[in-house]
Symmetry: C2
Subunit: 184 residues, 2 copies
C-alpha cells in the first residue's frame, strides 16, 4: 500500500517539523528568561554593593556629621534598602519564569526526541546547560554581594557599640538615629 | 529611576512575547500530533473492520469453497491481520507523541501564565481540551471496532465448531486450514 505509506511519512515529517519549531521557540524563551534573570541578579548585586558603600560611608563619618547631615545620609541609606528589596523581588520573579522556561525546554526536548527530531532535542539540551551555567555565574555574584552585606552588618554593630561607648565617655547626648536601627 | 523602569518593562515584554511564540508553536505541534493520532486511530479501526468483513465472509463460505479458493481467502485474512498489527503499532507510536504534546502544551501554558501572557495561556488550555475531545472521539471508534472484532471471534468459534460437527456427521475428511487457526 504505497499511498498509505506516503501518508504516514507525511504525518511523521509534519510532527517532526512542528517539534523543531517548538524547540526553537522554547530556546528563545529560555534565552529571554535567562537574560532577564542574569540582569536582575546583576542589578540586585549592584544595589547591594551601593548599600554597602553607603553604610560604610555612614559608619566612617559617625560623630563627624551634624544631625541634619546625618539625617540626609540615612535617608539615602533607607531609600537604597528599598531599592535592594525591589531588586530582590524582581530577581525572585524572574527566577520563577526561568525555572518554568527550563521545565518547558525539557518538555520540548522530550517532544523533539519522541518525534524523531534528535538534533533539535540535543540543541535544546545544550541550551539548557548553557543557561544553567550562565545563571549559576550570576547567582555567585549575587551571593557574594549578600556575604559582603552580612560582613558590613557585623562591622556596623561593632562601630555603633564603639560609638555609643565614646558618646557615654564624653557624656554627649547625641543619639544614633532610630530610623537607621529600625530598618536593620 | 525612569530609565531602569523601562529596562525592566522591556525584559518583561520580551519574555512575554517569547512565551506567546512558545504557546503558538506548542499548539501547532499538538495539532499535528492530534491529527496524526486521530488518523492512526481511524486507519486502525478501518483495518479492523476490513478484517471483520473478511472473517465473516470466510465463515459464511465454509464448506462451499474449494481448498485452493479457501487457501486464497485465508492468505488475504492473514495479510489483513498483519495490517491491523501494523496500524496498532502506529497508533501506539502517535499516542506517545500526543501525550508528550499535551505535556508540552501544559508547560507552555504555565510558562505563558507566569510570564504574564494570560491570553496565550488560556488559548493553549483551550487547544488542549479540544485535542483531548478529538482524540476521545477517535478512540471510541477504535474501541468499537475492537469490540466488534471480539464478537466476530465468538461467532467464529461457534461456526467452526458447527462446521466440524457437520464434517464429522458426513464423515468428510476436509479440515479447517491450520494456518487460519494458528493465527487466531
Amino acid at each position: 500500500v504505497p499511498f498509505k505509506q506516503v501518508e504516514n511519512l507525511s504525518h511523521d515529517s509534519l510532527v517532526r517539523r512542528a517539534a523543531s519549531l517548538v524547540t526553537d521557540s522554547s530556546s528563545t524563551f529560555l534565552s529571554q528568561a535567562t537574560l532577564a534573570l542574569t540582569d536582575a541578579l546583576t542589578e540586585y548585586a549592584k544595589a547591594v554593593h551601593t548599600l554597602i558603600a553607603l553604610q560604610r560611608q555612614y559608619l566612617a563619618s559617625l560623630g563627624k556629621l551634624s544631625p541634619a547631615e546625618e539625617d540626609t545620609v540615612w535617608q539615602v541609606i533607607i531609600s537604597q534598602r528599598a531599592e535592594v528589596v525591589h531588586r530582590q523581588d524582581e530577581q525572585k520573579r524572574f527566577e520563577l519564569t526561568w525555572v518554568t522556561a527550563i521545565r518547558l525546554c525539557e518538555a520540548a526536548a522530550e517532544a523533539a526526541y519522541i518525534s524523531g527530531a534528535e538534533n533539535a532535542s540535543i540543541t535544546v539540551r545544550t541550551n539548557i546547560q548553557l543557561a544553567q551555567s550562565q545563571v549559576e555565574e550570576a547567582q555567585k555574584i549575587s551571593v557574594d554581594a549578600e556575604k559582603k552585606l552580612a560582613e558590613t552588618k557585623v562591622m556596623e554593630v561593632e562601630r555603633m557599640t564603639q560609638h555609643a561607648a565614646t558618646l557615654e565617655g564624653s557624656n554627649d547626648e547625641e543619639e544614633t538615629p532610630e530610623a537607621y536601627l529600625r530598618e536593620d
